[in-house]
């Protein structure tokens, strides 16, 4: 099961001898919004489907996953990426976490600081004087950046 946190929940239930006769069980996931969860479930299903289709051929699996991931990125707003990361992290869904971290990294690579601030929706949390000092120290990294 890919969502390791959910799996643990089921394991714990079995240990406590709770009879889950019903096929649907309510699992509390207080830290996950419904929207990112829906995306993660789709991702998971797609991942398992592609894996099943290309049982022996690992390269084919990777290629198809890459294609799917590219398309998915087009539909996802950049601001949603952080929520998706948090959801994937909470659910302990390693492949999705890896994918969304890569997406964030390539989104902020070689961009200006204003872009990065806007992306994460946060003003820098250093005080004014400190920030200037740091900017000077790392001036090299702020040159030659891409257009937003």
């Amino acid at each position: 099961m890919k969502f390791c946190a959910v799996k643990q929940y089921f394991d714990d239930e079995n240990n406590n001898n709770i009879t889950s006769g019903a096929s649907t069980t309510m699992i509390p996931l207080p830290n996950v919004e419904s929207h990112p969860l829906a995306i993660l479930i789709t991702y998971c299903k797609k991942h398992l489907k592609i894996k099943a289709n290309n049982a022996d051929n690992k390269k084919e699996t990777e290629k198809e996953m890459e294609q799917y991931e590219q398309e998915l990125l087009k539909k996802v707003m950049p601001q949603e990426l952080t929520e998706l990361i948090l959801a994937a992290n909470y659910l302990n869904f390693k492949e999705a976490l890896d994918f969304f971290c890569r997406a964030v990294a390539s989104a902020i690579q070689n961009k200006s600081i204003e872009f990065v601030r806007k992306f994460f929706g946060l003003e820098s949390d250093f005080e004014l004087g400190e920030e200037e000092k740091l900017r000077e120290e790392f001036a090299w990294s702020f040159e030659g950046v891409d257009e937003d």
């Binding site: 643990q8 929940y9 394991d11 714990d12 240990n15 406590n16 509390p28 207080p30 830290n31 601001q79 952080t82 929520e83 990361i85 948090l86 992290n89 909470y90 976490l97 890896d98 971290c101 890569r102 964030v104 990294a105 390539s106 902020i108 690579q109 070689n110 600081i113 990065v116 601030r117 994460f120 929706g121 946060l122 820098s124 949390d125 250093f126 920030e131 740091l134 900017r135 120290e137 790392f138 090299w140 990294s141 702020f142």
Partner: protein, 314 residues
Amino acid sequence: MGSIRAAIDRAAYMISSRMKQRKEEGHAKKTDRISVLPDRVIYHILLLLPTIDVFKMISLFKNWRRVWASFPLVLDFHHKFAYGTERHNQLKLIKFVEYVFLILMPRKHIARLSTFRLNLDYFDDDACIHTWLSFVAESNVEELDLAVSYYRLPQTILHARSLRVLKLAMLRLEVKFGSIMLPSLKTLSMNMVMLDDKTIYKLISSCPALEDLDINWCCGLSNLQVSNPNLKSLQVQHRCPLPIQIEAMNLESFAYKGNYDQCKIRFVACQALRSLSLSETVFAEQWLRDQISRLPQLKNLKARSWGIPEKLYH
């Protein structure tokens, strides 16, 4: 084991997310997403970013700086220089050098350096790189990745006790006198490195923990002898016919790719070999049968002679 702990974790999450909700409801402004990312996720993203962007991030956000300062340090420098003496390129070069020194100098960073990568097309200031590498050699570096054309590698690196992975490309290596001591080295990869038979023999034999070895298109070799008791996987690619003797009793996989020329490989002691691949090379069928007869564990064989050899050889 997990059930009580998991329940406490879940409860903690529920409480903190309720508190967060209330805090957010109190503020009318946009969501503070960045400070919510857990440390290991921040570290994961930092590892995916080029060093330049890492420094941008840590100069923006306090907790990213904190994570960077407490996890093992990965430094990745690469720079493409145009050939020629254009003023613009010279300035870029000077700035780049300053930048690398700026990052390497603080001693407190050196203590936790785990990976160092330097990839420069062409750089004619060997002394500069020597200085950088001397800092690296002082650290507990585990992975070293160097690709600098024609750079002569100093022997200090060849005594790095903590080194587990060493990847060298396009540089020069010569060890005439003196020893090599790489007791933790597990993976060694050399691409287009200039070195002679004696040096490579010494290098391979001085790595008791070596498991993976890649020797691709290295020049200066006339007779390759691979002798190592723990070696598990070997790959050789070469541009001209190269006599190779392999004495590795734990070797499990060997792959050779020639340049549509004669295969001159001899397995001296490879009883554990399971997987053999010979491509783009020419050999006689009898030769192959002889080799196979000396490899009792062989399970995967991929070997097809590229043409018929002009004369039979053993």
